[in-house]
């Protein structure tokens, strides 16, 4: 090695660095860098990678890039597993959702888990660089520092949201925060579901002061109400997550959202799922898409295309949905259809039935099952989106009607004002019944069963169904069956272990701190 000394000038050439990519030091040198990474954290919920939907790889590997989208995967786990949706395709693992026979080696089970925890890592990475001391070290102060701190609170919200999904779907997951090193080799420890619950709760409360007041942030960015809505959902399901019910806290936080006055029901239900839903005052927090700038084969692009037949014919005109052609994937079972006693009166119950058979004779044939095409690539005034492939419509994570129904349920479960609850439910129903009282109910109608059904009518295909069924004890049990539940045409109960998804074998394999969820 003495020869190495001979060529010191050349050894310097071995320190090659990227020409255009930035390092941690160069990205976080000013506000623009922080904003660019914060935008990455937000976009982690919307798109699959930095190089466009057709790039060879995205953020998550070992899964088809288009399939790896956060919303598409979350939606699949929450909807395809229930009575609200079936899918025609056979991509590996996709039928497992509805048949409830997923395994710890399933590519989709791993894909969703990876996507959620990747999002956590993105948040941790940003937060580690956004501490007060690092900001002052880098000379970022005044308004710039305030902007970074606002993003900091929002990123903590986004991390809480991702951890909430991990808590709800996988229960006991690896846990790390911004104080843990990224790029090291020490695997994170596993956190118990109840402890993760406590962490999410504390985080959401801790950032309350730093978040912008309800309705005052830019649309697409989180505000206080987004955190409150998440707390409400967390508390609503607390008994499932921790064994201890927290309905009073649920109604408290739901009420805070409602009483903020920042949100109001969209006069027209359908407008919540159109390309201009960013103007909608009902949406508290949404994942934003744009057909030209925020492209993915997941998200609302998936939700729109997959619900439209692949064959354009008299029954199916893709132009009606603002797209060039459908993918012929998702429909619903009779159970959702039957929730609507009168699909003409209830504007939420819009199904494409022409050319479709009501009963799911085969899950893998698109023509079986009516299709509630909820998301469309057209505006509230019928103008097609900017691109016939990539959809402009945003995906609502929290909206006011959901909060009304959460309050109502908490009240009904003994922790809230029942009169107010009835009032809220009727607000939702009035809007559904063309802003008339035709669908209004009385206090005696307002039962827990009614509320579960009402949630399905109002919130179907918005990725809450699995959680709702679990809370009601109807996801795995024989108390409620739907076509092809458990892979049987008439539906069948499955072991309670299916209330949680398994920790993927791939992560168990490399992280010895992890213990598999029971039953897998």
């Amino acid at each position: 090695s003495s020869a190495l000394v001979v060529a010191p000038s050349c050894t310097k050439d071995l320190d090659r660095t990227p020409t255009y990519d930035l390092s941690t030091a160069t990205i976080y040198k000013d506000l623009a860098g922080y904003q660019a990474v914060a935008a990455k954290v937000y976009s982690g919920f919307a798109i699959t990678g930095g190089q466009g939907p057709d790039a060879t790889t995205g953020d998550i590997q070992g899964i088809d890039q288009g399939t790896s989208d956060y919303i598409r995967q979350l939606w699949s786990a929450q909807e395809l597993t229930t009575d609200e949706a079936v899918i025609a395709w056979g991509d590996p693992g996709v039928q497992d959702w509805h048949n409830m026979n997923w395994t710890s080696s399933g590519v989709l089970v791993r894909g969703l888990y990876s996507r959620i925890l990747y999002e956590v890592t993105l948040c941790n990475g940003f937060l580690a660089e956004a501490t007060d001391s690092k900001l002052s070290d880098r000379g970022i102060s005044g308004a710039d520092a305030a902007t970074v701190k606002a993003f900091r609170a929002e990123v903590r919200f986004l991390r809480a949201l991702a951890y909430y999904h991990a808590l709800d779907l996988y229960g006991n997951v690896p846990f790390s925060t911004e104080t843990d090193q990224i790029g090291g080799i020490t695997p994170p420890k596993q956190i118990k579901r109840a402890d993760l619950f406590a962490y999410i709760e504390s985080e959401l409360k801790a950032i309350d002061a730093d978040l912008v007041a309800p309705g005052q942030n830019l649309y697409g960015r989180a505000d206080k109400a987004a955190a409150w809505a998440l707390l409400a959902r967390l508390y609503l399901n607390a008994e499932v997550y921790t064994g201890t019910a927290r309905y009073a806290d649920c109604s408290t936080y739901a009420k805070k959202v409602i009483d903020s006055g920042a949100y109001s029901l969209s006069p027209k239900y359908g407008n919540l799922f159109r390309t201009d839903n960013y103007t909608n005052k009902e949406i508290i927090f949404a994942i934003a898409y744009d057909g030209k700038r925020t492209q993915t084969y997941g998200g609302t692009t998936f939700l729109t295309h997959a619900a439209v037949s692949g064959t354009a014919d008299a029954n199916w005109n893709p132009a009606r949905y603002g797209i060039g052609g459908g993918w012929g994937g998702i429909r619903t079972t009779t159970k959702l259809y039957e929730q609507f006693a009168d699909t003409a009166a209830d504007t939420r119950g819009k199904f494409v039935t022409g050319g479709q058979s009501r009963d799911i004779v085969s899950q893998t044939d698109f023509k079986y099952g009516y299709v509630p095409v909820k998301f469309k690539n057209v505006s509230s005034t019928g103008v097609a989106g900017t691109d016939p492939t990539f959809v402009d419509t945003d995906f609502p994570i929290f909206r006011l009607a959901d909060v009304y129904l959460m309050y109502a349920e908490a009240a009904l479960r003994g922790s809230g004002d029942r009169t107010l609850a009835l009032n809220y439910v009727n607000l939702v129903r009035t809007r559904a019944f063309k802003n008339t009282a035709a669908g209004n109910i009385t206090a005696s109608d307002l039962t827990l069963d009614f509320l579960l059904n009402e949630r399905s009518r109002e919130m179907f295909w918005e990725a809450t169904r699995r959680t709702d069924l679990i809370r009601y004890g109807r996801f795995t049990t024989a108390a409620y069956l739907w076509p092809w539940k458990g892979g049987v045409a008439a539906g069948v109960a499955v072991p309670d272990t299916r209330n949680l998804f398994p920790i993927p074998a791939a992560d168990l394999s490399v992280n010895s701190n992890l213990v598999q969820n029971p039953g897998y």
Partner: protein
């Protein structure tokens, strides 16, 4: 008391041989011959002496001479061209060695043994010619990339390609934008010799890039003193497809639809179209090379120009290649300075054809016409939406429209060159100082235009939402610059002493730098409206390798040869803490034939035992890591379609941010190391008429550069290239050359080679039960089965294993639809019921070449065979069922004949993972048969003429039911068929 010895060394044609080494045995005294073959050696001790005269390709001669003090002794020496090859100088890393001194495992294939006929890519020259070397062409497209594997792959996710060194310049053999096969830029006619270095003792001198073997290519050179020769090599070829993917004919399809789905009959058309016939054609190739070889004064040179025009059998597919090469190799400064200068340049123009059309031709309804009879969509038949005449989405596309409405062209220029100075020191002639400066520059650019009438781009709309008039088509362009440079310098000391003892010492330094740049372009619609904005940043990447190396080669008593090498490499791809690595190798050869007990044995003409050990490295992680900077934490700017926007309701405006995405990085990344043990026996019988070698090897790679799952939350990804686990390759190679007939009229020589290789993954790091491995498609993809992986990296199994469900059959042997064995017995069929089954890599590779001649007539052929290689028949897993007939109420897709066997109807996608579609791909291929006639002297004895007629791909024997089982990654979907080619060639020397 000394005298002088002088003389001339000539070949069998009595022409002077330049550059021949003439040594006085037992001394350090010697010299090399001049351009006319003359030499002179001063200060030779008086008395009887022996001159050792050696030269590449010639038998070394020992000529006695008596030196009288103060006088000049004159000798005339004639060297015979080497037949037994024993004394032949072979090219090794950084120099040449006498074959007898070689201790490593290497194979040389010289031009006379190359595959003949239509060979347009250099690697095809040695297909089937060298044991341990597997060359798989990427199908029949002109300029298609081949995959070369030497003794199996040593890595999982790092490159498994060998290092290719052309005239001393290690070249970049990754694909260039616009040319899939970087080697296709070299004219095969310019190549003189291939040397394949296989074991670590031969390759370790190349250190970090040697784990997958090294291929040394030497191009043809001019010879000093030789008269000017013009050589014209001209070939005209006709290529034809000789088989079809077995799909139903129009009539068969009609009757099948009537039988299977009577209510779908209404979707049938009335035409009878054989889509495969429509998209393929008979293709012509014209390949001409003219070269001028000789010497002008003291300047030997060779210049060549080649022109290749090769049509692909897929319509619209064509390649034009112009190549030029110039080599100058003067010897200057009183024979002390040898200069070797090479410049090669090539310019390729490609017209690509959309390979997807091959799949479309399989699936498109044969009862539909090519043309619709109306003007929309370019006049081609396509499936239309009821409303408005827009094409349906997600339907098969008319393959002819796909080809004819696309113009996909590229132009690639490449130049490789170097100047090598070998200076033998005046005061110490045994010491040579060598300087090698080289470059490898590529300029590639191309564009793809899709007609606005094409159905596939109908829904492309402008970026600007206000532009409501533009629609359809697309235009995108690309370009790429590569600038690779090389500086190498070494000292070489050779000394012969004490009769039959020899020492060669080598020490050197190498610096190589690789830069690739590509601008970012926008994508447009056919009418020029912007469709997608250009990325903000262009592309640029660079890496550097810096090395020190040394070698000692010691021959004792002409019997015992020891070689030791040591190389220290540093690659910019690794963090400074792990950057340097030392690659040692040692090997020993025992020339048993030289021992007294065999010396006079006439049965054995050669017997040499070789044993070797060495460690080589691997640093090419780019494919696995996606960048040349795998250890640096990077933030990459998103593309314009990957932005995120926020809306301000107060102003009614959006603010879009272009995010910077943090990338996964491995700050602990280091070299992958392969340890190789090799034992070989070189043998020769009957005066060399029967010779060859047997090698056994064991190669174990540790710290594998593998893309593996990493604990979530530890990095900005879920899978990362890491040093984990190990794998092994072990095998046997057998090589035999024989001359069964040698006579005045009849001559017959044969070569047979066989390779047996077993690959096994030994470890993939810590694992828990239930984790089967890392599922992979080995760089390919499963057509039709989104997200399906057919292979797996699993501990204890070969890296090319398939991972599939076990199909269940009825009593008649017919596969049962969607019925698979419950292998784990849990009562449920799910992904955990898949099992490891067979492998795509062949276990045995055989090559057989024969060359027989009678006077002027010759017949040569090359046979190749792979055994125990399995192929995933993706054409059948996708199309071998009635889904194409039942799947849509709007169109029909053709099915393969296997559909009528399986009669699968609404089968699930699990069928893509059925072992039913894993088929034995063993084959025997007649690579080439060539009939040659040596016309002899023509043009009043001024020239010689040789005529050849050849058939390429003459026959293929296999049980595989698809088109062609020779597919490197073992996934058969839409392969570009390898045609049968008839070639007429003439070779004229003047």
């Amino acid at each position: 008391q000394t005298g002088t010895v002088s003389g001339r060394v000539v070949d069998e044609k009595n022409q002077g041989l330049p550059g021949v080494t003439v040594l006085v045995e037992g001394t350090t005294i010697g010299n090399s011959t001049n351009s006319d073959g003359t030499f002179s050696i001063q200060n030779v001790p008086a008395g009887p002496q022996t001159l050792a005269v050696s030269f590449v390709g010639y038998t070394t001669k020992r000529q006695p001479v008596t030196v009288v003090a103060g006088q000049n002794a004159t000798v005339a020496i004639a060297l015979a061209e080497n037949t037994t090859l024993l004394n032949e100088a072979v090219v090794v890393g950084y120099g040449t060695q006498r074959r007898q001194d070689v201790t490593g495992s290497l194979t040389t294939v010289s031009s006379k043994d190359f595959v003949q006929g239509q060979v347009t890519n250099p690697e095809q020259l040695i297909q089937g010619k060298a044991a341990g070397v597997q060359i798989t062409t990427g199908g029949g497209a002109p300029g298609a990339a081949s995959t070369i594997r030497i003794r199996g792959g040593s890595s999982l996710n790092a490159s498994n390609d060998p290092l290719i060194v052309i005239d001393g310049v290690p070249v970049d053999n990754t694909s260039v934008s616009g040319a899939a096969n970087a080697l296709s830029l070299i004219n095969p006619n310019d190549i003189d010799t291939y040397t394949v270095l296989k074991d670590a003792s031969a390759t370790a001198i190349y250190g970090s890039r040697a784990s997958n073997g090294v291929i040394l290519i030497t191009t043809k050179k001019g010879v000093s003193g030789e008269k000017l020769t013009v050589n014209v090599n001209s070939q005209t070829s006709l290529s034809r497809r000789y088989n079809s993917v077995p799909v139903l004919s129009a009539d068969q399809f009609r009757s099948t639809v009537e039988q299977v789905a009577p209510n779908q009959v209404k979707l049938l058309g009335s035409s009878k179209t054989n889509w495969q016939d429509e998209i393929f054609r008979s293709a012509m190739t014209y390949d001409n090379t003219i070269s001028l070889t000789g010497a002008v004064g003291k300047l030997p040179f060779r210049a060549s120009y080649g022109n290749l025009e090769q049509q692909g059998i897929l319509i619209t597919n064509r390649l034009i290649r112009n190549t030029g090469s110039l080599s100058l190799n003067p010897v200057l400064l009183d024979n002390h300075l040898r200069v070797n200068m090479n410049v090669k340049g090539s310019w390729i123009d490609n017209n690509f054809a959309d390979n997807g059309a091959v799949g479309s031709a399989i699936a498109f309804d044969p009862t539909q016409p090519v043309r619709s009879g109306n003007e929309g969509l370019g006049g081609y038949f396509e499936y239309l939406q009821n409303a408005g005449g827009a094409p349906q989405q997600n339907v098969p596309r008319n393959p002819l429209a796909q080809l004819n409405l696309t113009r996909d062209r590229s132009s690639v220029k490449r130049s490789i060159g170097n100047i090598q100075l070998d200076y033998s020191l005046h005061f110490l002639p045994d010491l040579h100082a060598n300087l090698n400066l080289g470059y490898d520059i590529t300029r590639g650019n191309g564009s793809k235009f899709v007609d606005p009438n094409a159905a596939s781009t109908y829904f492309n709309v402008p970026l600007d939402p206000k532009n409501t008039t533009s629609r359809g088509g697309s235009f995108n362009q690309y370009s790429q610059d590569r600038n690779n440079k090389l500086l190498e310098t070494y000292l070489n000391y050779t000394k012969q002493f004490g009769g039959n003892n020899r020492v060669e010492l080598l020490a050197g330094y190498s610096y190589q730098d690789f830069v690739t740049k590509a601008p970012a372009y926008a994508t447009y619609l056919a009418d020029g409206a912007v469709f997608k904005a250009a990325a903000t940043n262009p592309f640029r990447t660079q890496y550097t390798i810096l090395s020190f190396y040394g070698r000692a080669n010691v021959t004792i008593n002409d019997r015992y040869v020891f070689t030791g090498t040591l190389r220290n490499d540093a690659s910019s791809r690794f963090p400074s803490s792990n950057r340097n690595a030392l690659f040692p190798a040692a090997s020993l050869a025992w020339r048993i034939k030289e021992e007294s007990f065999l010396k006079d044995n006439t049965t054995f003409s050669d017997l040499k035992l070789r044993v070797g050990y060495g460690i080589t490295g691997q640093q090419d992680v780019v494919a696995a890591a996606g960048s040349d900077y795998p250890y640096i934490q990077r933030y990459t700017l998103n593309t314009p379609v990957s932005q995120y926007g926020f809306y301000d309701p107060k102003t009614g405006t959006f603010t879009y941010y272009t995010p910077y995405s943090p990338q996964g990085f491995n700050s602990n990344l280091k070299w992958e190391q392969t340890t190789t043990y090799n034992a070989g026996l070189d043998y020769g019988f009957l005066d060399g008429r029967l010779n060859g070698s047997v090698d056994v090897y064991y190669r174990k790679t540790k710290d594998l550069l593998a893309v593996i799952p990493i604990p979530l939350e530890t990095n900005f990804t879920n899978q990362l290239v890491s040093n984990v686990g190990s794998l092994e390759n072990k095998g046997v190679e057998f090589n035999l050359n024989a001359i069964p007939v040698q006579g005045e009229h009849w001559n017959w020589s044969i070569n047979a080679n066989a390779t047996y290789n077993v690959n096994k993954i030994l470890s993939l790091g810590p694992q828990v039960p239930g984790f089967k491995g890392i599922e992979t498609n080995s760089g390919g993809s499963v057509s039709g089965g989104t997200g399906t992986t057919i292979g797996i990296y699993s501990v204890g199994a070969p890296s090319s294993s398939f991972y599939v469900y076990k199909q269940v059959y009825d009593t008649n042997g017919k596969p049962l639809q969607d019925v698979y064995a419950d292998l784990n017995g849990d009562g449920v069929i799910n992904t955990n019921d898949r099992y490891l089954y067979k492998q795509s890599a062949p276990k045995v590779i055989l090559g057989f070449s024969s060359n027989a001649s009678y006077d002027r007539l010759s017949l040569a052929f090359t046979l190749r065979s792979n055994l125990d290689n399995y192929v995933y028949n993706n054409v059948n897993s996708q199309n071998g069922n009635y889904q194409g007939i039942l799947g849509s109420s709007n169109f029909l897709s053709n099915v393969t004949r296997d559909a009528n066997h399986t009669q699968f109807t609404n089968t699930t996608q699990a069928r893509y993972s059925s072992d039913y579609y894993i088929q034995n791909g063993s084959f025997l291929r007649m690579e080439n048969v060539t009939l040659g006639y040596n016309v002899g002297k023509v043009f009043n004895d001024k020239g010689t003429l040789r005529l050849t007629a050849a058939v390429q791909n003459a026959f293929l024997i296999t049980k595989y039911t698809g088109l062609d089982p020779e597919i490197f990654n073992g996934i058969d979907n839409n392969i570009y068929p390898r045609p049968r080619t008839f070639t007429f060639g003439l070779n004229l020397s003047l």
